[in-house]
């Protein structure tokens, strides 16, 4: 398969063939056919994931002093002289070495309240402040794109995450036992729900997704029986680390399976819970990051050739205090690390600036200082990779964010 044409190369080619200005308006359709294949996945890590554990700044001379026993020294997987990845992030590390993963080590939403729930709201609504929007930015991005091309979105998990809630209809799926195609009940209920604005569309989409799931999850190791043991949306329910990793891997692979189906979703969101590490942080994040790594590895393997059309963004609502607290953990902070992954990614170093951990550089003498607005990161991916135009990004997808520049050069 040929590399996808970017809008720029299509336009350049059109110019080269001496096409008239009038026709130059048309290549947008040609460009769209390349855009049609683009895929974007957002992974929300809930609880305030500690950026300094995800990507320890091993080259920062203040890191060890601030973190004490929590500092990851020899065990971390080096990226360059300045940063490394947590030892459990082996798949992410391999992707980074192949130029398919980058870190943004000091990103934050505009929210500074250090409340999980406010910060998650702001992260997912894409608004400048809490309680100013009720739909999710990813939903509004889908809505915007749907004016130009068919874009379907899927969330993985038993409950619908705010990031994908809104006017654009979206599907949701979690591992389960499938629908009996012979039963009358689904069609009787669709009839009973015909005037129900909540249940009618939800059931219709749920049934359509179930039908697709039969193919999407076929051939996974362990099969559907294994899948039922993963509690979707959270870390896998089985405690054994190996089983947990397998279930997480399968969750990622089945998400990829959906995205490879004909007519399958091109945009998806998945949540991982449990990153709030006030105490016993080392052990807790060991497990959570192993699951995260397995999900991402499952996505990459499951997407196969489509991986090169894909960008995955991993983000959390806030980072944690730069200093360890008194209980082997860290408290709510500000900036954290986001991960960018995918075959469509342009190789490069860190995204955004590193503020350092010098005392005077810490935010409120406590947290990693934000140098990059999370919305700029999302906007960069939506603009360069998914083809959302700047005006829509500034007004609709991230309302009132005109001053927040999309990060460029990611794709």
């Amino acid at each position: 398969m040929n590399a996808p044409l970017s809008r720029r190369t299509v336009l350049a080619a059109a110019a080269g063939f001496g096409l008239s200005l009038q026709l130059l308006a048309v290549p947008a359709i040609a460009a769209d056919s390349a855009l049609n294949k683009r895929r974007m996945i957002v992974v929300v890590c809930r609880g305030g994931m500690d950026g300094l554990t995800v990507a320890p700044p091993i080259g920062d001379s203040d890191y060890r002093g601030l973190r004490g026993d929590l500092a990851l020294d020899g065990s971390a997987l080096p990226l360059d002289g300045a940063f490394a990845l947590h030892p459990q992030l082996t798949a992410v590390h391999a992707m980074a070495k192949a130029g398919e993963a980058r870190i943004a080590p000091a990103v934050a939403t505009p929210d500074r309240a250090r409340s999980h729930f406010e910060a998650q709201d702001v992260l997912e609504t894409g608004a400048a402040g809490v309680y100013s929007a009720t739909s999710g930015w990813l939903n509004r991005a889908v809505e915007t794109l749907s004016a130009h091309r068919k874009v379907d979105a899927l969330s993985i998990g038993a409950t619908a995450p705010l990031i994908l809630r809104g006017k654009a209809p979206t599907a949701s799926w979690s591992p389960g036992r499938g629908v009996d195609a012979e039963a009358r009940l689904p069609s009787l209920l669709q009839d009973l729900y015909r005037n129900d604005p909540l249940l009618g569309p939800a059931l219709a989409r749920g049934l359509a997704t179930e039908a697709m799931a039969k193919d999407a999850t076929a051939g996974l190791d362990g099969g559907p029986a294994m899948m039922t043991k993963a509690s979707a949306g959270a870390a896998p329910a089985r405690p054994g680390a190996q089983q947990g990793r397998e279930a997480a891997h399968n969750l990622g692979a089945s998400l990829a399976g959906f995205m490879r189906e004909p007519g399958g979703p091109t945009v998806a969101a998945i949540s991982l819970d449990g990153f709030d590490s006030h105490a016993g942080q080392a052990g807790l994040l060991n497990i959570r990051l192993a699951y995260l790594d397995a999900v991402l590895d499952g996505v990459r393997q499951g997407l196969g050739p489509e991986w090169k059309e894909t960008v995955v963004v991993v983000a959390t609502e806030f980072g944690r205090t730069a200093r360890a607290n008194g209980t082997g953990g860290t408290d709510h902070g500000t900036a954290s690390t986001a991960l960018l992954l995918g075959g469509a990614l342009k190789p490069g170093g860190i995204v955004g600036d590193w503020p350092t951990l010098k005392q005077q550089a810490l935010f409120e003498n406590r947290d990693v200082a934000p140098t990059l607005d999370m919305r700029g990161l999302f906007k960069g991916v939506l603009m360069e990779h998914m083809g959302v135009d700047r005006a829509a990004l500034d007004t609709t997808v991230f309302p009132g964010s005109g001053a927040v520049k999309p990060v460029s050069g990611l794709i």
């Binding site: 809930r46 004490g68 309240a113 250090r114 409340s115 999980h116 729930f117 809490v130 998990g157 038993a158 409950t159 619908a160 809630r165 599907a171 949701s172 799926w173 979690s174 389960g176 629908v179 009996d180 039963a183 009940l185 689904p186 009787l188 209920l189 009839d191 009973l192 729900y193 129900d196 909540l198 249940l199 939800a202 059931l203 219709a204 749920g206 997704t209 179930e210 509690s231 949306g233 870390a235 329910a237 405690p239 054994g240 680390a241 190996q242 819970d273 449990g274 709030d276 006030h278 105490a279 052990g283 807790l284 497990i287 607290n325 008194g326 209980t327 082997g328 953990g329 408290d331 709510h332």
Partner: protein, 498 residues
């Protein structure tokens, strides 16, 4: 919108304020629907689930033994040169748990035996609570208790708290839900389960004698897992969540500095270890308390020791922001995701006039006209849906396997709220396409077992009364089997809401 007639009010009393109607319940409420509810309010609090009361101290001792055995087993295996076993229950105890109630798994390994016992404890606590909800005649009282259990969430997502969620509800929540908010607040925040869940037990005043001793190389006695030579200090988790989630709310006007000051004041609140002779009991460690005066939300607290925390909690409970925040939550839980401001105002007035008497607030709720609007605004949570299904069938779950796994599949894993904020309230969270399909699958399986020789038309009339729509009644009447008719009832738009 006019007042609903008496039949409609009876149906609303049982379904919106209660947990779904049992056969005969709507008829019992018909004479005086509001009185049917106020009659359930009582000073001594909510009902306790059947069975021997589960004691926190005993559960904590069992968990300690379990951890010891795990450590021992790991050491032995390491000595054998085999790779150490992974540690079940270290992060997600309850979850693991409920996946297999494993009386049958590997019977000889002592670690597994104790682990199975702990899981058994958790699932039997949850089963007893669900059986109470499915069968009680005072379902408004139970819903009121469940509201407060969710307001003061302790979750089994942390392994060590898994076995004490049930005891926490029984000891701290249920006895206090019709008393003063201040007393409920104190009972919840100082319970060993909450102190553990929100990391308070390890929080130590940086300038306290205990911290100074630890810095000189001494250990700090009394924690569940003493670790030598570790840094000791503040943990602000509980202080923040008390302000943000339990009292004044996130817009309540506090700052990061208030959180930190409150955390300093609370140092010393902990639970006893073996050396204290009070294992698993909430105690106050003077030696871990940060000495000195504290300032929280502009008020100076010069008290020493535990009295400082008490004074701050008392002031937080009395703040108007707390009345506003908590009354809004009550209205949202009982009436609508976006509750009528007039209703919130009524609740606040009752709260303020009675100085946080929760019995008076409950009375204000059931006497508020806004709460009786005929159109149902609330989409049932998975637990409400499952409990009301049992009530509609006039039955109760025989055991955990009948209803535990489906709750997990629907996103509401037993005793495992995803965060200290508790379970979400809004329809958007629970009505995802996948969840509707899974509810339908549950309704199919449940009806096949429950509706064998019953008349689904009669069950629908008992379960919904005047709320049963002609469309649903017709669909049930046309069903090709009793099971299909009952499943249509459970999945009908009006049964899915309350």
């Amino acid at each position: 919108m006019g007042l609903a007639d008496q039949d409609m009010r009876a149906a609303i009393a049982a379904t919106r304020f209660g947990l779904g109607a049992k056969p005969g319940e709507i008829a019992a409420a018909r004479r005086d629907p509001q009185g049917f509810l106020t009659g359930q309010i009582r000073r001594q609090g909510a009902d306790q689930p059947a069975g021997p009361p589960a004691a926190t101290t005993q559960r904590m001792a069992e968990f300690r033994d379990y951890q010891r055995q795990q450590r021992q087993a790991r050491l032995e295996k390491a000595a054998d040169g085999r790779p150490p076993a992974s540690a079940p229950g270290t992060t997600d105890g309850a979850g693991a748990a409920m996946a297999d109630t494993s009386a049958q798994t590997a019977v000889r390994d002592p670690v597994k035996i104790v682990g199975a016992m702990l899981r058994q404890d958790i699932s039997s606590d949850f089963t007893a609570r669900t059986q109470l909800a499915a069968t009680t005649d005072a379902a408004f009282r139970e819903r009121w208790a469940l509201f407060w259990a969710n307001h003061f969430t302790v979750s089994a997502t942390k392994a060590i708290t898994g076995t004490v969620v049930g005891p926490f509800e029984q000891e701290a929540i249920r006895p206090n839900v019709f008393g003063r908010f201040e007393d409920l607040l104190d009972a919840a925040e100082s319970h060993p389960a909450m102190l553990t869940y929100l990391d308070q037990i390890q929080s130590i005043g940086p300038d306290s004698p205990a911290a100074q001793f630890a810095r000189r190389g001494g250990g700090f006695g009394g924690r569940l897992q003493p670790v030598a030579n570790r840094t000791v200090g503040l943990n602000e988790n509980l202080a923040r969540e008390i302000m943000e989630l339990h009292t004044v709310g996130v817009n309540g006007g506090y700052t990061q500095a208030d959180v930190t000051e409150f955390a300093r004041a609370m140092t010393g609140l902990s639970i006893g270890g073996e050396r204290d002779g009070a294992f698993g009991v909430a105690i106050f460690r003077e030696r871990a308390h940060e000495p000195g005066e504290r300032t929280v939300m502009g008020v100076r607290y010069g008290q020493s020791g535990r009295a400082q925390t008490n004074a701050i909690l008392t002031d937080l409970a009395a703040k108007p922001q707390t009345a506003r925040f908590v009354c809004t939550k009550i209205a949202r839980h009982f009436v609508a995701d976006d509750p009528p401001p007039a209703l919130v105002a009524r609740l606040e007035t009752a709260w303020t006039a009675s100085r946080g008497d929760l019995a008076k607030v409950a009375e204000a709720l059931v006497s508020a006209p806004e709460a009786w609007a005929p159109a149902p605004q609330k989409f049932k949570t998975p637990y409400e849906f499952i409990v009301s299904s049992y009530r509609a069938a006039g039955g109760q779950p025989a055991g955990f396997p009948q209803f535990g796994p489906i709750l997990t599949a629907l996103g509401q894993k037993p005793f495992s709220a995803p965060s200290p904020k508790g379970w979400p309230e809004d329809a958007q969270s629970w009505a995802a396409p996948d969840a509707i399909v899974k509810r339908m699958q549950f309704a199919q399986a449940f009806s096949a077992a429950a509706a064998r020789d019953r008349d689904p038309k009669a069950l629908a009339a008992e379960a919904l009364g005047a709320r049963l729509s002609p469309e649903t009644a017709t669909a049930i009447a046309r069903a090709e089997s009793r099971a299909e008719g009952f499943a249509l009832l459970l999945m009908s738009p009006e049964f899915q809401r309350r």
